[in-house]
Subunit: 200 residues, 2 copies
Amino acid sequence: MVRTVDPDKHAAKRRAILDAAAGCFARDGFEKTSTADICRAAGISSGSLFHYFPSKRAVFVGIFEADTAENEELLATAVEMADPWEGVLAVVARMTSAIVLPGVVRLILEAAAQAARDPEFNELIRSNDDLMRVGLAGLVERGIHTGRFSPMLSSADAGNWIVALVDALLSRASLDPDLDVEHEQAVLRQLLTRILGPSE
Amino acid sequence: MVRTVDPDKHAAKRRAILDAAAGCFARDGFEKTSTADICRAAGISSGSLFHYFPSKRAVFVGIFEADTAENEELLATAVEMADPWEGVLAVVARMTSAIVLPGVVRLILEAAAQAARDPEFNELIRSNDDLMRVGLAGLVERGIHTGRFSPMLSSADAGNWIVALVDALLSRASLDPDLDVEHEQAVLRQLLTRILGPSE
DNA sequence: TCATAAACCGAGCGCGCGGTCTAATATTGG
DNA sequence: CCAATATTAGACCGCGCGCTCGGTTTATGA
Protein backbone atom coordinates (compact mmCIF):
# COMPACT_ATOMS: atom_id res chain seq x y z
CA MET A 1 0.00 0.00 0.00
CA VAL A 2 1.15 3.49 -0.75
CA ARG A 3 -1.07 5.49 1.43
CA THR A 4 -2.76 4.76 4.71
CA VAL A 5 -5.70 6.64 6.04
CA ASP A 6 -5.30 8.61 9.23
CA PRO A 7 -8.31 7.53 11.26
CA ASP A 8 -8.02 10.48 13.61
CA LYS A 9 -8.21 13.04 10.85
CA HIS A 10 -11.07 11.17 9.29
CA ALA A 11 -12.98 11.09 12.56
CA ALA A 12 -12.26 14.74 13.23
CA LYS A 13 -13.65 15.78 9.88
CA ARG A 14 -16.69 13.64 10.41
CA ARG A 15 -17.31 15.32 13.70
CA ALA A 16 -16.84 18.76 12.17
CA ILE A 17 -19.45 17.94 9.56
CA LEU A 18 -21.79 16.60 12.22
CA ASP A 19 -21.43 19.78 14.26
CA ALA A 20 -22.14 22.00 11.29
CA ALA A 21 -25.09 19.84 10.31
CA ALA A 22 -26.49 19.86 13.82
CA GLY A 23 -26.75 23.64 13.63
CA CYS A 24 -28.64 23.44 10.37
CA PHE A 25 -31.00 20.72 11.55
CA ALA A 26 -31.72 22.65 14.73
CA ARG A 27 -32.46 25.83 12.83
CA ASP A 28 -34.48 24.43 9.94
CA GLY A 29 -35.48 20.88 10.78
CA PHE A 30 -34.43 17.72 9.00
CA GLU A 31 -36.51 18.00 5.85
CA LYS A 32 -35.95 21.68 5.27
CA THR A 33 -32.21 21.39 5.69
CA SER A 34 -30.72 20.68 2.29
CA THR A 35 -27.48 18.84 1.80
CA ALA A 36 -26.25 22.04 0.18
CA ASP A 37 -26.96 23.87 3.46
CA ILE A 38 -24.84 21.37 5.32
CA CYS A 39 -22.04 21.69 2.80
CA ARG A 40 -22.09 25.46 3.10
CA ALA A 41 -22.06 25.32 6.89
CA ALA A 42 -19.23 22.80 6.92
CA GLY A 43 -17.28 24.54 4.19
CA ILE A 44 -17.12 21.51 1.92
CA SER A 45 -18.57 20.38 -1.36
CA SER A 46 -21.36 17.90 -1.84
CA GLY A 47 -18.84 15.41 -3.12
CA SER A 48 -17.03 15.51 0.19
CA LEU A 49 -20.20 15.30 2.21
CA PHE A 50 -21.20 12.10 0.51
CA HIS A 51 -17.69 10.82 0.84
CA TYR A 52 -18.11 10.85 4.60
CA PHE A 53 -21.78 9.95 4.84
CA PRO A 54 -23.89 7.81 2.55
CA SER A 55 -27.00 9.95 2.87
CA LYS A 56 -28.49 12.97 4.56
CA ARG A 57 -30.27 10.73 7.00
CA ALA A 58 -26.95 9.16 7.99
CA VAL A 59 -25.68 12.60 8.94
CA PHE A 60 -28.70 13.17 11.14
CA VAL A 61 -28.38 9.78 12.77
CA GLY A 62 -24.67 10.31 13.32
CA ILE A 63 -25.36 13.31 15.51
CA PHE A 64 -27.26 11.21 18.00
CA GLU A 65 -24.91 8.27 17.89
CA ALA A 66 -22.28 10.55 19.33
CA ASP A 67 -24.63 11.33 22.21
CA THR A 68 -24.65 7.78 23.51
CA ALA A 69 -21.05 7.85 24.67
CA GLU A 70 -21.57 11.21 26.30
CA ASN A 71 -24.53 9.96 28.27
CA GLU A 72 -22.70 6.87 29.42
CA GLU A 73 -19.92 9.04 30.71
CA LEU A 74 -22.37 11.29 32.51
CA LEU A 75 -23.97 8.36 34.25
CA ALA A 76 -20.64 6.83 35.14
CA THR A 77 -19.50 9.95 36.95
CA ALA A 78 -22.83 10.16 38.74
CA VAL A 79 -22.57 6.58 39.90
CA GLU A 80 -19.13 7.25 41.30
CA MET A 81 -20.40 10.03 43.49
CA ALA A 82 -20.68 9.11 47.14
CA ASP A 83 -24.19 10.45 47.58
CA PRO A 84 -26.86 9.12 45.21
CA TRP A 85 -28.96 12.24 45.77
CA GLU A 86 -26.07 14.34 44.52
CA GLY A 87 -25.73 11.93 41.63
CA VAL A 88 -29.37 12.35 40.64
CA LEU A 89 -29.09 16.11 40.92
CA ALA A 90 -25.96 16.11 38.79
CA VAL A 91 -27.59 14.07 36.05
CA VAL A 92 -30.70 16.21 36.08
CA ALA A 93 -28.64 19.40 36.07
CA ARG A 94 -26.69 18.22 33.08
CA MET A 95 -29.80 17.13 31.20
CA THR A 96 -31.54 20.42 31.81
CA SER A 97 -28.47 22.51 31.06
CA ALA A 98 -29.36 22.29 27.39
CA ILE A 99 -32.25 24.69 28.02
CA VAL A 100 -30.05 27.68 27.46
CA LEU A 101 -28.93 26.31 24.10
CA PRO A 102 -32.10 26.64 22.05
CA GLY A 103 -30.50 24.75 19.23
CA VAL A 104 -30.06 21.64 21.31
CA VAL A 105 -33.65 21.69 22.46
CA ARG A 106 -34.86 22.04 18.90
CA LEU A 107 -32.69 19.15 17.84
CA ILE A 108 -34.26 17.00 20.53
CA LEU A 109 -37.72 17.97 19.34
CA GLU A 110 -36.77 17.19 15.79
CA ALA A 111 -35.37 13.85 16.87
CA ALA A 112 -38.60 12.99 18.64
CA ALA A 113 -40.60 13.81 15.54
CA GLN A 114 -38.32 11.75 13.31
CA ALA A 115 -38.27 8.85 15.75
CA ALA A 116 -42.04 8.64 15.52
CA ARG A 117 -41.72 7.75 11.87
CA ASP A 118 -38.39 5.97 11.49
CA PRO A 119 -38.30 2.69 13.42
CA GLU A 120 -34.54 2.26 13.17
CA PHE A 121 -33.86 5.77 14.38
CA ASN A 122 -36.47 5.28 17.06
CA GLU A 123 -34.43 2.41 18.39
CA LEU A 124 -31.34 4.60 18.67
CA ILE A 125 -33.15 7.40 20.47
CA ARG A 126 -34.89 4.96 22.73
CA SER A 127 -31.67 3.23 23.64
CA ASN A 128 -30.24 6.59 24.68
CA ASP A 129 -33.38 7.19 26.67
CA ASP A 130 -33.28 3.76 28.25
CA LEU A 131 -29.72 4.38 29.28
CA MET A 132 -30.74 7.42 31.29
CA ARG A 133 -33.82 5.78 32.70
CA VAL A 134 -32.16 2.64 33.95
CA GLY A 135 -29.13 4.63 35.05
CA LEU A 136 -31.27 6.86 37.20
CA ALA A 137 -33.25 3.89 38.44
CA GLY A 138 -29.96 2.37 39.51
CA LEU A 139 -29.02 5.48 41.41
CA VAL A 140 -32.37 5.48 43.13
CA GLU A 141 -32.04 1.82 43.95
CA ARG A 142 -28.71 2.42 45.57
CA GLY A 143 -30.15 5.31 47.53
CA ILE A 144 -32.92 3.10 48.80
CA HIS A 145 -30.50 0.45 50.00
CA THR A 146 -28.35 2.93 51.83
CA GLY A 147 -31.42 4.50 53.38
CA ARG A 148 -30.77 7.78 51.61
CA PHE A 149 -34.10 7.66 49.76
CA SER A 150 -37.58 6.69 50.77
CA PRO A 151 -39.30 7.21 47.47
CA MET A 152 -43.00 7.24 46.75
CA LEU A 153 -42.36 5.20 43.58
CA SER A 154 -40.48 2.06 42.68
CA SER A 155 -36.94 2.77 41.56
CA ALA A 156 -37.88 1.93 37.97
CA ASP A 157 -40.88 4.27 37.99
CA ALA A 158 -38.78 6.95 39.63
CA GLY A 159 -36.14 6.70 36.92
CA ASN A 160 -38.76 6.86 34.21
CA TRP A 161 -40.51 9.87 35.60
CA ILE A 162 -37.38 11.80 36.39
CA VAL A 163 -36.48 11.60 32.73
CA ALA A 164 -40.05 12.46 31.85
CA LEU A 165 -39.95 15.56 34.02
CA VAL A 166 -36.75 16.72 32.40
CA ASP A 167 -38.19 16.15 28.94
CA ALA A 168 -41.28 18.07 29.90
CA LEU A 169 -39.22 21.02 31.05
CA LEU A 170 -37.17 21.02 27.87
CA SER A 171 -40.13 20.93 25.54
CA ARG A 172 -41.89 23.65 27.44
CA ALA A 173 -38.78 25.78 27.26
CA SER A 174 -38.79 25.45 23.52
CA LEU A 175 -42.42 26.50 23.29
CA ASP A 176 -42.08 29.42 25.68
CA PRO A 177 -38.83 31.36 25.32
CA ASP A 178 -39.77 33.70 28.16
CA LEU A 179 -39.84 30.82 30.62
CA ASP A 180 -38.26 31.55 33.97
CA VAL A 181 -35.74 28.77 33.75
CA GLU A 182 -34.29 29.16 37.22
CA HIS A 183 -37.71 29.06 38.81
CA GLU A 184 -38.77 25.98 36.91
CA GLN A 185 -35.56 24.23 37.80
CA ALA A 186 -36.26 24.99 41.42
CA VAL A 187 -39.75 23.56 41.11
CA LEU A 188 -38.33 20.51 39.39
CA ARG A 189 -36.01 20.03 42.32
CA GLN A 190 -38.94 20.25 44.70
CA LEU A 191 -40.73 17.58 42.73
CA LEU A 192 -37.66 15.36 42.78
CA THR A 193 -37.40 15.81 46.51
CA ARG A 194 -41.00 14.81 46.87
CA ILE A 195 -40.61 11.78 44.64
CA LEU A 196 -37.41 10.47 46.18
CA GLY A 197 -37.79 11.61 49.76
CA PRO A 198 -34.09 12.03 50.46
CA SER A 199 -33.25 12.03 54.13
CA GLU A 200 -31.54 15.10 55.52
CA MET B 1 -77.02 38.78 -6.12
CA VAL B 2 -77.85 35.65 -7.97
CA ARG B 3 -76.23 33.06 -5.83
CA THR B 4 -75.45 32.79 -2.14
CA VAL B 5 -72.93 30.46 -0.63
CA ASP B 6 -73.98 27.86 1.87
CA PRO B 7 -71.58 28.43 4.77
CA ASP B 8 -72.39 25.11 6.41
CA LYS B 9 -71.44 23.09 3.38
CA HIS B 10 -68.30 25.11 3.00
CA ALA B 11 -67.30 24.56 6.62
CA ALA B 12 -68.11 20.86 6.42
CA LYS B 13 -65.88 20.39 3.40
CA ARG B 14 -63.11 22.33 5.09
CA ARG B 15 -63.33 20.07 8.08
CA ALA B 16 -63.33 16.98 5.90
CA ILE B 17 -60.14 18.17 4.23
CA LEU B 18 -58.60 18.94 7.61
CA ASP B 19 -59.42 15.47 8.90
CA ALA B 20 -57.91 13.81 5.87
CA ALA B 21 -54.83 16.03 6.07
CA ALA B 22 -54.38 15.36 9.78
CA GLY B 23 -54.01 11.68 8.99
CA CYS B 24 -51.36 12.40 6.40
CA PHE B 25 -49.43 14.79 8.60
CA ALA B 26 -49.50 12.34 11.48
CA ARG B 27 -48.22 9.52 9.30
CA ASP B 28 -45.56 11.34 7.30
CA GLY B 29 -44.88 14.67 8.98
CA PHE B 30 -45.53 18.11 7.57
CA GLU B 31 -42.72 18.33 5.04
CA LYS B 32 -43.03 14.82 3.69
CA THR B 33 -46.75 15.12 3.20
CA SER B 34 -47.34 16.45 -0.29
CA THR B 35 -50.39 18.44 -1.27
CA ALA B 36 -51.09 15.59 -3.69
CA ASP B 37 -51.22 13.20 -0.71
CA ILE B 38 -53.78 15.40 0.99
CA CYS B 39 -55.85 15.59 -2.19
CA ARG B 40 -55.81 11.83 -2.56
CA ALA B 41 -56.79 11.30 1.07
CA ALA B 42 -59.58 13.84 0.84
CA GLY B 43 -60.74 12.66 -2.57
CA ILE B 44 -60.37 16.03 -4.24
CA SER B 45 -58.14 17.67 -6.80
CA SER B 46 -55.42 20.19 -6.13
CA GLY B 47 -57.62 22.91 -7.56
CA SER B 48 -60.18 22.24 -4.85
CA LEU B 49 -57.60 22.03 -2.10
CA PHE B 50 -56.24 25.46 -2.92
CA HIS B 51 -59.75 26.78 -3.24
CA TYR B 52 -60.34 26.03 0.42
CA PHE B 53 -56.85 26.78 1.74
CA PRO B 54 -54.26 29.22 0.47
CA SER B 55 -51.30 26.98 1.19
CA LYS B 56 -50.23 23.68 2.66
CA ARG B 57 -49.19 25.43 5.82
CA ALA B 58 -52.69 26.88 6.20
CA VAL B 59 -54.08 23.35 6.18
CA PHE B 60 -51.72 22.35 8.95
CA VAL B 61 -52.52 25.42 11.01
CA GLY B 62 -56.24 24.88 10.50
CA ILE B 63 -56.06 21.52 12.22
CA PHE B 64 -54.90 23.11 15.46
CA GLU B 65 -57.23 26.07 15.27
CA ALA B 66 -60.06 23.63 15.55
CA ASP B 67 -58.51 22.29 18.76
CA THR B 68 -58.89 25.54 20.64
CA ALA B 69 -62.66 25.38 20.82
CA GLU B 70 -62.50 21.77 21.92
CA ASN B 71 -60.14 22.60 24.77
CA GLU B 72 -62.29 25.47 25.96
CA GLU B 73 -65.25 23.17 26.10
CA LEU B 74 -63.28 20.58 28.06
CA LEU B 75 -62.23 23.14 30.63
CA ALA B 76 -65.71 24.56 30.90
CA THR B 77 -67.20 21.21 31.80
CA ALA B 78 -64.40 20.62 34.31
CA VAL B 79 -65.04 23.94 35.98
CA GLU B 80 -68.71 23.11 36.32
CA MET B 81 -67.96 19.97 38.26
CA ALA B 82 -68.65 20.23 41.96
CA ASP B 83 -65.30 18.78 43.05
CA PRO B 84 -62.15 20.42 41.67
CA TRP B 85 -60.19 17.22 42.18
CA GLU B 86 -62.63 15.42 39.93
CA GLY B 87 -62.27 18.33 37.52
CA VAL B 88 -58.51 17.99 37.38
CA LEU B 89 -58.74 14.25 36.94
CA ALA B 90 -61.26 14.69 34.14
CA VAL B 91 -59.04 17.14 32.28
CA VAL B 92 -55.99 14.95 32.71
CA ALA B 93 -57.91 11.86 31.65
CA ARG B 94 -59.06 13.58 28.51
CA MET B 95 -55.61 14.92 27.69
CA THR B 96 -54.00 11.52 28.13
CA SER B 97 -56.74 9.68 26.27
CA ALA B 98 -54.94 10.54 23.03
CA ILE B 99 -52.27 7.99 23.93
CA VAL B 100 -54.21 5.17 22.34
CA LEU B 101 -54.49 7.15 19.08
CA PRO B 102 -50.88 7.11 17.87
CA GLY B 103 -51.77 9.50 15.10
CA VAL B 104 -52.79 12.19 17.52
CA VAL B 105 -49.59 11.89 19.51
CA ARG B 106 -47.52 12.12 16.36
CA LEU B 107 -49.43 15.19 15.30
CA ILE B 108 -48.64 16.80 18.64
CA LEU B 109 -44.96 15.97 18.21
CA GLU B 110 -45.00 17.38 14.72
CA ALA B 111 -46.70 20.51 15.97
CA ALA B 112 -44.04 20.99 18.62
CA ALA B 113 -41.30 20.67 16.05
CA GLN B 114 -42.98 23.14 13.71
CA ALA B 115 -43.72 25.58 16.50
CA ALA B 116 -40.02 25.75 17.28
CA ARG B 117 -39.43 27.24 13.88
CA ASP B 118 -42.59 29.16 13.00
CA PRO B 119 -43.26 32.05 15.38
CA GLU B 120 -46.83 32.59 14.26
CA PHE B 121 -47.71 28.95 14.63
CA ASN B 122 -45.88 28.90 17.94
CA GLU B 123 -48.27 31.54 19.19
CA LEU B 124 -51.27 29.40 18.28
CA ILE B 125 -49.91 26.30 19.97
CA ARG B 126 -48.85 28.25 22.99
CA SER B 127 -52.24 29.87 23.35
CA ASN B 128 -53.80 26.41 23.38
CA ASP B 129 -51.26 25.40 25.97
CA ASP B 130 -51.81 28.50 28.05
CA LEU B 131 -55.50 27.79 28.02
CA MET B 132 -54.95 24.44 29.66
CA ARG B 133 -52.37 25.72 32.07
CA VAL B 134 -54.37 28.65 33.42
CA GLY B 135 -57.52 26.57 33.31
CA LEU B 136 -55.92 23.94 35.52
CA ALA B 137 -54.40 26.62 37.73
CA GLY B 138 -57.89 28.01 38.19
CA LEU B 139 -59.20 24.63 39.22
CA VAL B 140 -56.39 24.26 41.71
CA GLU B 141 -56.99 27.74 43.04
CA ARG B 142 -60.62 26.92 43.64
CA GLY B 143 -59.65 23.71 45.36
CA ILE B 144 -57.35 25.62 47.66
CA HIS B 145 -60.07 28.06 48.65
CA THR B 146 -62.55 25.35 49.41
CA GLY B 147 -59.93 23.47 51.39
CA ARG B 148 -60.04 20.56 48.98
CA PHE B 149 -56.36 20.93 48.08
CA SER B 150 -53.26 21.64 50.09
CA PRO B 151 -50.74 21.66 47.28
CA MET B 152 -46.98 21.67 47.51
CA LEU B 153 -46.84 24.23 44.70
CA SER B 154 -48.52 27.53 43.91
CA SER B 155 -51.64 27.09 41.82
CA ALA B 156 -49.83 28.53 38.79
CA ASP B 157 -46.91 26.15 39.16
CA ALA B 158 -49.27 23.26 39.74
CA GLY B 159 -51.15 24.05 36.53
CA ASN B 160 -47.92 24.31 34.57
CA TRP B 161 -46.51 21.06 35.82
CA ILE B 162 -49.69 19.08 35.45
CA VAL B 163 -49.65 19.94 31.77
CA ALA B 164 -45.94 19.17 31.67
CA LEU B 165 -46.52 15.74 33.19
CA VAL B 166 -49.19 14.95 30.63
CA ASP B 167 -46.93 16.09 27.80
CA ALA B 168 -44.15 13.95 29.15
CA LEU B 169 -46.38 10.90 29.23
CA LEU B 170 -47.55 11.49 25.67
CA SER B 171 -44.09 11.91 24.24
CA ARG B 172 -42.81 8.86 26.02
CA ALA B 173 -45.75 6.87 24.70
CA SER B 174 -44.79 7.86 21.19
CA LEU B 175 -41.20 6.75 21.70
CA ASP B 176 -42.08 3.49 23.38
CA PRO B 177 -45.07 1.72 21.88
CA ASP B 178 -44.84 -1.09 24.41
CA LEU B 179 -45.45 1.30 27.28
CA ASP B 180 -47.81 0.03 29.94
CA VAL B 181 -50.25 2.89 29.59
CA GLU B 182 -52.52 1.94 32.46
CA HIS B 183 -49.62 1.67 34.84
CA GLU B 184 -48.16 5.02 33.84
CA GLN B 185 -51.54 6.66 34.19
CA ALA B 186 -51.75 5.26 37.68
CA VAL B 187 -48.32 6.65 38.51
CA LEU B 188 -49.33 10.00 37.04
CA ARG B 189 -52.33 10.00 39.33
CA GLN B 190 -50.08 9.30 42.29
CA LEU B 191 -47.92 12.23 41.32
CA LEU B 192 -50.96 14.47 40.99
CA THR B 193 -52.13 13.40 44.40
CA ARG B 194 -48.75 14.22 45.81
CA ILE B 195 -48.65 17.62 44.11
CA LEU B 196 -52.16 18.70 44.99
CA GLY B 197 -52.67 16.96 48.29
CA PRO B 198 -56.42 16.50 47.99
CA SER B 199 -58.17 15.90 51.29
CA GLU B 200 -60.08 12.68 51.67
C1' DT C 1 10.72 10.65 -6.92
C1' DC C 2 6.81 8.56 -8.18
C1' DA C 3 2.90 5.36 -8.08
C1' DT C 4 -1.30 5.12 -5.86
C1' DA C 5 -5.10 5.73 -3.01
C1' DA C 6 -7.63 9.14 -0.26
C1' DA C 7 -9.78 13.43 -0.26
C1' DC C 8 -12.16 16.70 -2.55
C1' DC C 9 -14.68 19.44 -6.02
C1' DG C 10 -18.82 21.12 -8.39
C1' DA C 11 -21.60 20.62 -12.58
C1' DG C 12 -25.50 18.35 -13.44
C1' DC C 13 -29.36 14.67 -13.39
C1' DG C 14 -33.95 13.15 -12.71
C1' DC C 15 -37.63 13.78 -9.96
C1' DG C 16 -41.30 15.40 -7.18
C1' DC C 17 -42.66 19.33 -4.98
C1' DG C 18 -46.09 23.50 -3.87
C1' DG C 19 -48.79 26.17 -6.23
C1' DT C 20 -51.27 28.30 -10.72
C1' DC C 21 -54.38 28.60 -14.45
C1' DT C 22 -57.88 27.74 -17.69
C1' DA C 23 -61.76 25.71 -18.68
C1' DA C 24 -65.64 22.93 -17.56
C1' DT C 25 -69.48 21.99 -14.45
C1' DA C 26 -72.70 22.44 -10.50
C1' DT C 27 -75.79 25.39 -8.01
C1' DT C 28 -78.31 29.14 -6.94
C1' DG C 29 -81.72 33.54 -7.27
C1' DG C 30 -84.71 35.76 -10.33
C1' DC D 1 -84.43 28.88 -18.25
C1' DC D 2 -80.95 32.26 -17.78
C1' DA D 3 -77.31 34.82 -15.73
C1' DA D 4 -74.02 34.77 -12.35
C1' DT D 5 -71.14 32.73 -9.35
C1' DA D 6 -69.19 28.84 -6.57
C1' DT D 7 -66.81 24.72 -7.15
C1' DT D 8 -64.05 21.39 -9.38
C1' DA D 9 -60.64 19.17 -12.31
C1' DG D 10 -56.05 18.25 -13.77
C1' DA D 11 -52.39 19.63 -16.97
C1' DC D 12 -48.77 22.38 -16.16
C1' DC D 13 -44.68 25.25 -14.38
C1' DG D 14 -40.39 26.46 -12.36
C1' DC D 15 -37.64 25.31 -8.69
C1' DG D 16 -34.81 23.04 -5.52
C1' DC D 17 -33.94 18.71 -3.87
C1' DG D 18 -30.73 14.40 -2.73
C1' DC D 19 -27.32 12.38 -4.77
C1' DT D 20 -23.87 10.84 -8.64
C1' DC D 21 -19.91 11.01 -11.26
C1' DG D 22 -15.71 12.10 -13.65
C1' DG D 23 -11.90 14.45 -12.87
C1' DT D 24 -8.34 16.93 -10.02
C1' DT D 25 -5.50 17.67 -6.04
C1' DT D 26 -3.12 16.09 -1.97
C1' DA D 27 -0.66 13.09 0.94
C1' DT D 28 2.06 9.06 1.79
C1' DG D 29 4.91 4.73 1.70
C1' DA D 30 8.50 2.52 -0.84
